[in-house]
Amino acid sequence: MSSLLITDLHAQVETDQGPKDILKGVTLKIESGRTYAIMGPNGSGKSTLAYVIAGHPRYTVTSGSITLDGVDVLSMSVDERARAGLFLAMQYPVEVPGVSVANFLRTAVTAVRGEAPKLRLWIKEMKEAMAAIQMDPSFAERNLNEGFSGGEKKRLEILQLGLLRPKIAVLDETDSGLDVDALRVVSEGVNRFRDETGAGTLLITHYTRILRYIKPDVVHVFAEGRIVETGGPELAEILESEGYERFTTVKS
């Protein structure tokens, strides 16, 4: 059992006009075996929360804490967080020219598992992982995310999720840019990962679409840099029909 505990988290980003507060007191608990959704309008700070958990250098935490099983996450480097069992599936996976998918995956798996997988077993494992996400094996030789379609990038994120098997996974807008078929493949990948590992999963999304495929236990509504309402799956249905208006107009 693992739990990621976020307590009264405040974070800001540096802008031309000086520092801007984006997270304004986020308190959240993510436990193994459970699935959480954070839903909110654009610009509410959802993606910032994901990046801050992963340790993106653009954001500065000004107060609050993040712990994984009681261990301070904020003092860890980005790669230490990943090795400790955190994973962020990014909304916009980054292209890295000249680095093959195969080389990248093996380097990442070696880092996270602490030892290089045996080459023969590794090739088999990678092929199976690619097949499971309906990705052509030829992608292994391509440069990381370079020239990939939006859907291909998202598939590769989920493939990494399956190989790296984190304790807590944060999926940032994984449904964006996916057609229905791709959404189903990606969702199946996430569900398989959840079922096999019993990890805790946090879905960050604007729309309820992905929640039809990946059922959340808890739904949080995020607005103005904090969680403003919490409920069960039925909350997502309400948001679907009513939208976010009542959360965005409360302020002044």
Partner: protein, 374 residues
């Protein structure tokens, strides 16, 4: 920081060409040709050194011969080259016989025990021949001279030049290449070490149909000044040139200069030319000058293009790799190796491509990370 440098188009007037150093006016640091150079570390090459030794070339089929017995079509185009040519006593000669198809790369080692030495290496690929030549030079002193390459009609020649060595050293090298009819040349120039290095790599076409690919990688660290000057002279119809140089500047005070001049003359109809230089600044205080020039005297060409870009490390790439558990130093390694992979991927010989990648990796600080999956 990088500077975008704007200079007037190349001077189209015929250059001075002579074996006599006296035919040249001694350059100053303000001359267009030298103003980007590590002038103070190189200017002694304008003055003959009576105690200078000779760079010896060794390798399969390579002979050292008295310079007077070496027939070379190349005539020096600047004072340092003329001084070296006038004072070098011996030169290395590698002749690839006509129609020979040599599969195994021919490795040529260039060495000297002198504190200053002159160099002349003549590589001649006979018509219809095919070969790969690897020139290894680990600098230990001050070297001035030339490597003259002639690719015969319909010949295919790849020359991989690897320059390494101490920061206290200096090298001024002329690297002229002449292509015969339908000849194909690939040059891969890896300036991985050395102190003050200035390489002038020129291509001329003796007949129509030649194709030249000039590839280059360079690493510059504190105390290094790596200068590469490319000149492709399209004066024959239906020839191609493709130039791609990539450099990484590792630390503050690292300096690189890349000047790429491509001239397409009136008679060079059907020319297809492209050149690109990309530099990666890994540290504040490093400086990369990059000046691509393209001069067209005819519009009757297939295509012509050039590009230049100098940028910093992409933090998003590093973050992405780190977010998958890959430690920072390894992530940076991957990004830099990836940067060079585009150009090295074009080196057809797999064994030496890997050798270059591994040399670059080790210069970057880590011997290896993970295994190659290829």
């Amino acid at each position: 920081m990088s500077l975008a440098v704007v200079v007037p188009p190349v001077d189209l007037a015929p250059r001075t060409r002579s074996y006599e150093p006296e035919a040249f006016i001694e350059p100053t640091a303000r001359d267009e040709e030298w103003k980007f150079s590590a002038f103070n570390r190189l200017k002694h090459f304008f003055v003959p050194d009576p105690n200078a030794g000779v760079v010896r070339a060794s390798g399969d089929g390579v002979q050292m011969r008295p310079i007077t017995s070496i027939a070379s079509s190349w005539i020096p185009t600047d004072m340092a080259a003329a001084v070296a040519r006038a004072n070098v006593r011996e030169g290395g000669v590698l002749e690839i016989p006509a129609q020979a198809e040599i599969i195994e790369p021919i490795v040529v080692d260039l060495t000297t025990s002198s504190a200053q030495a002159y160099q002349h290496l003549e590589i001649v690929a006979g018509s219809f021949s095919s070969a790969v030549v690897v020139i290894r030079q680990t600098l230990t002193s001050e070297i001035s001279g030339s490597t003259v390459i002639t690719v015969g009609d319909h010949a295919r020649l790849t020359v991989i030049t690897i320059i390494e060595g101490e920061k206290s050293t200096a090298l001024v090298l002329q690297l002229p290449v002449t292509l015969g009819r339908d000849a194909q040349f690939t040059g891969a120039l890896a300036a991985i070490g050395g102190g003050a290095v200035r390489i002038q790599n020129s291509v001329t076409y003796a007949a129509p149909g030649g194709s030249a690919e000039l590839l280059g990688v360079f690493l510059a660290d504190t105390g290094q000044h790596i200068e590469q000057r490319i000149f492709v002279n399209h004066d024959q119809p239906h020839c191609k040139s493709n130039v791609m140089f990539k450099g990484a500047l590792l630390n503050a005070e690292a300096r690189s200069v890349w000047i790429g001049d491509v001239l397409v003359r009136k008679e060079a109809i059907g020319t297809d030319t492209h050149q690109v230089n990309r530099n990666l600044l890994l540290s504040d205080g490093a400086r990369a000058d990059s000046v691509p020039n393209l001069e067209l005297e005819t519009g009757d060409i297939v295509k012509a293009g050039h590009a230049s870009a100098t940028g910093r490390f992409d933090d998003e790439q590093v973050f992405y790799l780190q977010s998958r558990g890959i430690p920072l130093d390894v992530a940076r390694q991957l990004v830099v190796r990836g940067f060079f992979a585009e150009v090295l991927g074009r080196v057809g010989n797999v064994e030496w491509r890997e050798e270059l990648l591994s040399k670059i990796s080790s210069r970057l600080g880590i011997e290896s990370f993970g295994d190659s999956d290829e």
